[in-house]
Amino acid sequence: MEVVIKKGWSREEMAQNIARDIPDGSYVNLGIGMPELVANYIPENREVVFHTENGLLGIGPSPAEGEEDDEMINAGKKPVTANKGAAFFHHADSFAMIRGGHIDICVLGAFQISEYGDLANWSTGEPKAIPAVGGAMDLVQGVKHVIIITKHTTKDGKPKIVRECSYPLTGKGVVDRIYTDLAIIDVTKNGLFVKEMAPGVDFETLQSKTEASLNQY
């Protein structure tokens, strides 16, 4: 009998890993795309309030088909509902929450993260590309804990955790923790520390897929 070693976490498992680490009572902003998955995995005994920068605290589950409302959407422009205890507000108040340090955690995607916690996630810097920044630069500066969810490498296998970001920065020294398909990595003053590795992943393999130097606790 052959033992099948599963290499790396799936998208759902990455989201689960993050959800597991979000404390009860947290106020959380989820970026567009993969970060949105996190909402599905909050343990049932925890109450977490989700914020969307377009003016809602207390996002509920997606509406049933046919129940969508054009005027009830999240930052990704997808239809949402509101939980009990929700509140609507305008954009300046919404970013007062973000910039003012009132949101506990945000989960964002990334193009690159440097070993100093620099983040690049808004522009590839290509001359023909249309730049679009949204709320990312506000989130990384204002939110207490900035968490990244990303595949460990690009589609063509290049490291996303690098010594220095080559793409335009979203913020310098802003990332607190990185959740990839291969590992969970803390960004500390003393460098990157591997907190956990996916089943079947060893430190050497992980380092080989990472440009920046990794440390073990």
């Binding site: 305008h90 910039r99 249309i130 730049p131 630069m137």
Partner: protein, 238 residues
């Protein structure tokens, strides 16, 4: 007597002049004052600077205004959305200007402009290309960027309920930039799904007090951008 209610969208936007700075509410497909924008297309003012979070969708509303070549410059945070077709095309051809502003900075600049605050410091965009050429300053050991208040000649805003004083209520996440854009313009033009008698809005729940509003027009059944995009409609209708 104070009566800010006008009969038609065309009457509401009649004063918009060539070269004006115009704020337009909305985030994605929610909260965009599509009938006011279409009236502005009919009216024809050109060389406009538009302040809006996005650049419009499909070939209606803000996208149609841009397509009709009435817009010289966009000030926005996210010009590239799923249904944005018109702006990217013009931008790549160098036919429209773009001032890219982080979303929170955009909101704060609009609020500042409406609040008599000419400039403020913010941590947002520090050490990024968007801070290039801007004054930075250390306060309590942390770096900040100086940003200036934004003021418009006109704001076009969509809301749920209004009265003749211009007191406004909004609907869910269609509130977004509406209330601060009402503050940020010399003349604020609002389309409301319903205009109610004075006194029908509880003073405790008013979101935008009438002092920030110049004109109100009732548009009882506003078009849905989502629907128009699905139907591939274009404005002017053809």
């Amino acid at each position: 007597m104070i009566n800010k209610v006008v009969k038609t969208a065309s009457e509401a936007v009649a004063d918009v002049f060539d070269g004006a700075i115009v704020m337009i509410s909305g985030f994605g497909e929610a909260g965009s004052p599509i009938e006011l924008i279409h009236a502005l297309i009919d009216q024809g003012a050109k060389d406009l600077t538009i302040v809006s979070n996005n650049t419009g969708n499909g070939h209606v509303g803000l996208a149609a205004l841009i397509e009709n070549r009435q817009v010289r410059k966009m000030i926005c945070s996210f010009p590239r959305t799923a249904h944005s077709i018109v702006f990217p095309e013009l931008y790549k051809n160098g036919e429209i200007e773009l001032e890219l502003v982080p979303q929170g900075t955009l909101a704060e600049r609009i609020r500042a402009g409406g609040s008599g605050i000419p400039a403020f410091y913010t941590p947002t965009s520090v050490n990024t290309p968007l801070a290039e050429g801007k004054e930075t300053r250390e306060i309590d050991g942390k770096p900040y960027v100086l940003e200036y208040g934004l003021k418009a000649d006109f704001s076009l805003v969509k809301c749920k309920t209004a009265d003749r004083h211009g007191n406004l209520l909004f609907n869910k996440t269609a509130r977004n930039f509406g209330p601060i854009m009402c503050m940020g313009a010399k003349a604020t033009i609002v389309q409301a799904k319903e205009v109610v008698d004075l006194g029908m809005i509880d003073p405790e729940i008013v979101v935008t007090p009438g002092i920030f509003v110049s004109k109100v027009v009732e548009i009882a059944d506003p078009l849905s951008e989502n629907q128009l995009i699905k139907e591939e409609r274009r404005y002017p209708w053809r």
